[in-house]
Symmetry: C2
Subunit: 356 residues, 2 copies
């Protein structure tokens, strides 16, 4: 494993840490951050850890106008025996480069970027909360910085990593969420940017989520942009169904984000000799399965929640209730196993966890 030689400037005074038992997602940031600059002339240069501080950019910087911006999200977990674990961070770096390619942004050395991530998290280890279910959220991201208003790929970029201690996602036990199926707005279409983790996808999704929330639903279920027929994602998570004993998830089609939790769920189920069928799934099929009493479980998967069981779909004024609105047995088992591996409470047979 290659190591990145980083210039480190430490804070003179450290921040007061927030109460670790009352953490909100993404509100508090640690004392330091990592910055790495890129220019066409110099390539990647000047990797440094500095005190967490504002970013200063020209008002004409590309990111503000033409949105070249990609990001990743993962977590560092504090184990009971005082170890720090990362979960499949190599997968995040791989995906970052796939996003970079789609957005005409430069490739980054995945091993060196991961080395920077490890060094930053090590430095900030006091910020990793120890309470059950808590973690340190890690946000690597890259933005385009050239001050130029022509519509073309920027010639300068900045890669950064910031860290945020986050509370348990499920503070009061895992309660299934209510999901509104979205019939008007579209998240992505094949040939677009749906399978890249880029800022614009999230900006475009806000409107539908806002309307769903106003109607009492947590998130929207996105249908495909062509026929509004096939199921794609739920909120910013991938989705799985258990129908008549079979586990099904939408196949990767160019508009669905390739979730690392999604991939892990599939591999975990296969390890248990349960085959996951990746294929197109229509909302009609889900409705029919619900009516027939075959829709046993449905859940979203992502870094934040790991598993987010779904208790209800609202589709065209019809409510489909799943498993009486309670978490399913498989959802629970997957959640317990995956979080067990992440927190080091269960042996990791896959080599997914990386000890710091």
């Amino acid at each position: 494993m290659k190591e990145l030689n980083i210039d480190i400037t430490l804070c003179t005074t450290m921040k007061k840490k927030p109460a670790f038992d009352r953490l909100e997602f993404g509100r508090n940031f640690t004392d330091h951050m990592f910055i790495w600059n890129y220019s066409v002339e110099k390539g990647w240069h000047d990797p440094r850890i500095v005190p967490y501080q504002p970013i200063t950019l020209d008002p004409a910087a590309t990111v503000f106008h033409y949105g070249q911006s990609v990001f990743e999200g993962l977590k560092a977990y504090h184990t009971k025996n005082e170890q720090i674990l990362l979960f499949r961070p190599d997968q995040n770096m791989k995906r970052l480069n796939r996003s970079n390619d789609r957005l005409c942004m430069p490739q980054i050395d995945e091993e060196l970027a991961l080395s920077a991530l490890q060094q930053l998290v090590s430095l900030e280890r006091e910020w990793i909360p120890t309470e059950e279910g808590t973690s340190l959220y890690i946000r690597p991201y890259m933005i385009a910085t050239e001050p130029y208003l022509g519509v073309s790929p920027s010639k300068a970029y900045q890669f950064m990593i910031i860290l945020s201690p986050v509370g348990a996602y499920y503070k009061e036990g895992i309660n299934p969420v209510k999901i509104a199926v979205e019939n008007d707005y579209v998240r992505a279409v094949a040939g677009g940017t749906g399978n890249a983790k880029t800022a614009g996808n999230y900006a475009g999704s806000l409107k539908a989520s806002e309307i769903a929330e106003q109607n009492g639903y947590s998130q929207v279920l996105w249908l495909d942009g062509k026929e509004k027929k096939y199921i794609e994602e739920v909120g910013s998570m991938n989705i799985f169904f258990k129908i008549n004993g079979e586990i099904i998830t939408p196949e990767l089609n160019g508009s669905i984000l390739e979730g690392i939790t999604r991939k892990s769920i599939i591999e975990l189920l296969e390890h248990w000799d349960i085959r996951v069928v990746e294929r197109k799934i229509t909302m009609d099929e889900i409705r029919q399965a619900s009516i027939d009493g075959h829709l046993e479980e449905a859940f979203g998967t992502g870094t934040a929640a790991v598993i987010s069981p779904i208790g209800e779909f609202l589709w065209k004024n019809e409510k489909l209730i799943i498993n009486d609105g309670k978490i399913g047995r498989l959802s629970k088992k997957l959640y317990d196993t995956l979080t067990g591996i992440q927190y080091g409470n269960i042996t990791d047979p896959f080599g997914w966890t990386l000890k710091l």
Copy 2:
């Protein structure tokens, strides 16, 4: 017309102005910029003109991660009798608010924002180049600034206006461009953000443009995201065709940007008693018209070029040559008339120009 009360801080030393006869688009910026802040608590507050300076944002600011960002583009023109004209700036402010709505960003008072724009351009009038075909490009834009990693609309925003003197688009006469029809990548789909002027649309378009340029084509022609059959836009312009005497442009369908030049061309042609047909147009139809010898003209429309005649389409390895690769008569007449109005050389019968 309402006027915005702006706090003004002038530069102590002015920049050296670039040679106005060798200006590149979007590279040089004037001495001052306008900034206006918004927060959910205070609403719009603290409008100010300050020396052009870097923007300072928290590394967790929403714009970097979730891409809430909208912009506009228009120009100030120097007339032969020393007047400054703006072209339909009210339309830009209207569209800005439509974009804001789609991106869950706050509405801005259109008249007050226009007042800010006028005050800034007045202050910077020495920066408006006087050479034929030159102008001062005006870039109003709004970004989300709340330092929060939750995926939800930001609670704080910054609206800014920056100015950039730009050279003549056609330095060596109007030469028609070669356009590659895009069959893989998609710019937008109905239900997405295609009709909003938001950063993510441009980020997503770079890859296709890059490939087209590598093959010797200036821009791509975007087809619809559903069937890759219907014509949408060309590069970042709207598109018009003259087929067998009839003027046709794709109808606004939710994924096409509502261009102000597009709208003006339609109104200008109607003023000349030439009806423009707004309807769906397939690429097959254009090919057939070309084969039949009925494809008389094709041109893009936008703020930068005004009219950009198209001399060739490449579609599935077939080249369709239009008007022997020369500018058409109608394209030329529209260009001359519209730029004539913009530069005050032709009487404006529409009330489109706003004198500063």
